[in-house]
């Protein structure tokens, strides 16, 4: 089974200015009245954590933080327009919305750099170090420092 994202759909994806990554699985694909019920629960109480915010979903306490999508990247919300009949078949995903910042929420836990989402974004820096071409001087420098040791 392979999963394919239709990259052509990206240009038609509409930009949204709010996007929430919830700490729970909501078994619904569709619209929800987030602005009245969820956005109104969000408050900036920043006691010790300057940029942390709190919210409530179904009465449960959430702690959140707004993250910017790293430059050079685009945040994409994908949907699956055709449900596949069996698990074995390939999936086709289509980009419906894009965003350049999003809020991730923890259940009753202050956001820290140890959270999965923040850690996942570390890969962006790491991959650029790993994959960027190295100039001849740099490679020589590093070889010399190896010898030095």
């Amino acid at each position: 089974m392979a999963t394919t994202i239709d990259t052509k759909s990206l240009q038609f994806a509409s930009a949204v200015d709010t996007c929430h990554l919830m700490p729970c699985k909501i078994h619904l694909d569709g619209e929800a009245n987030a602005s009245d019920f969820f956005h109104s629960s969000i408050s900036q109480d920043g006691k010790e954590n300057g940029d942390s915010i709190t919210g409530t979903f179904r009465g449960r306490p959430l702690n959140g933080k707004v993250l910017n999508v790293p430059s050079g990247y685009t945040g994409v919300l994908v949907t699956e327009p055709h449900k596949r009949p069996t698990e074995e078949e390939d999936r086709l995903l289509v980009a419906s919305h894009k965003y350049d910042k999003f809020t991730y929420w923890n259940l009753d836990k202050e956001p820290t750099s140890d959270d999965l989402v923040q850690k996942a974004l570390q890969w962006v820096d790491l991959s650029s170090v790993l994959h960027n071409p190295i100039s001849p001087e740099e490679s020589q420098d590093s070889q010399e420092s190896m010898k030095g040791q």
Binding site: A2, T7, P23, C24, K25, I26, H27, L28, A32, N33, A34, D36, F37, F38, S40, S41, S43, T56, F57, R58, G59, R60, P61, L107, D108, K109, L116, K119, A120, Q122, W123
Partner: protein
Amino acid sequence: MDQTAFESDRRANCLIESPVCERLKSEPCWLGIDEAGRGPVLGPMVYGICFSPVADKEKFGTMGFADSKTLTEEQRDKIFSEINSSLDLLGWMVEILSPAYISRSMLRRDKYNLNALSHDCAIRLVKTALERGVNVTELYVDTVGDPAKYQAKLKEVFPTIDVTVAKKADSLYPVVSAASICAKVARDKAVKNWEFQEKITLDEPNYGSGYPGDPKTKHFLEASFDRVFGFPNFVRFSWSTAALIIEKDGVQVEWEDDDEQDGVPENTPTVSQFFKKKSERPELKQHRFFTNRQLTPVTSL
């Protein structure tokens, strides 16, 4: 009772207090604690305290305080205005515990139960009175949970104060009755003036007593229900009445701590899994840097 502070953010708790006259600071005082709106599935729960000089106990007893539950709303409002014109004899404070705070507390990862929450609120109010300089020597409180345990808890926090925890304290001690009237007046006003930040519109603006058995309350719960979010934050999500409606008619929601409630979490490995046959070929695995971060590679673009 001016509730502007609470009305500016109904998600948060709010302390409202009377001025404290000099006599209450210089003379030994008795202090009563009581609550209003503990049972309802709707609206805030309010804790109230009232305090007055021990020397004036008799005079205080003639002011006609009675358990707030035995009085009509008009009687309570009248007595509350009498309370406010006797501020040379007494002082009061209430803390409005918002329904959002109650839900959040009770639905935390480590559950904070209503008894503990009530005890802590009562203790907080007495501490605030002491901070204002009130010379509290006697404490009277209606029991919440086991009276002996509550008494011990209060005694530990206030070792120098004479603590009496009793059933029906609100009808035995007028200072507790006065506290119950302050709390009930605050709760009634907060419920009556509630504005929904969720912008819900009601065909029937009367939501009854807030007790789950009241048909008007039931109707309100049905009318304000949203299958994704559940209810407006006027509703205490931690009440089984609310939870059952969500479970029955709401969209299913899974939380990461769902299975922790009944002992062994899901996906707990069985012992035999650790004794894999050696003949099996080792799988090619991603480095844990990626698996830890739930990252999977894109094979082509």
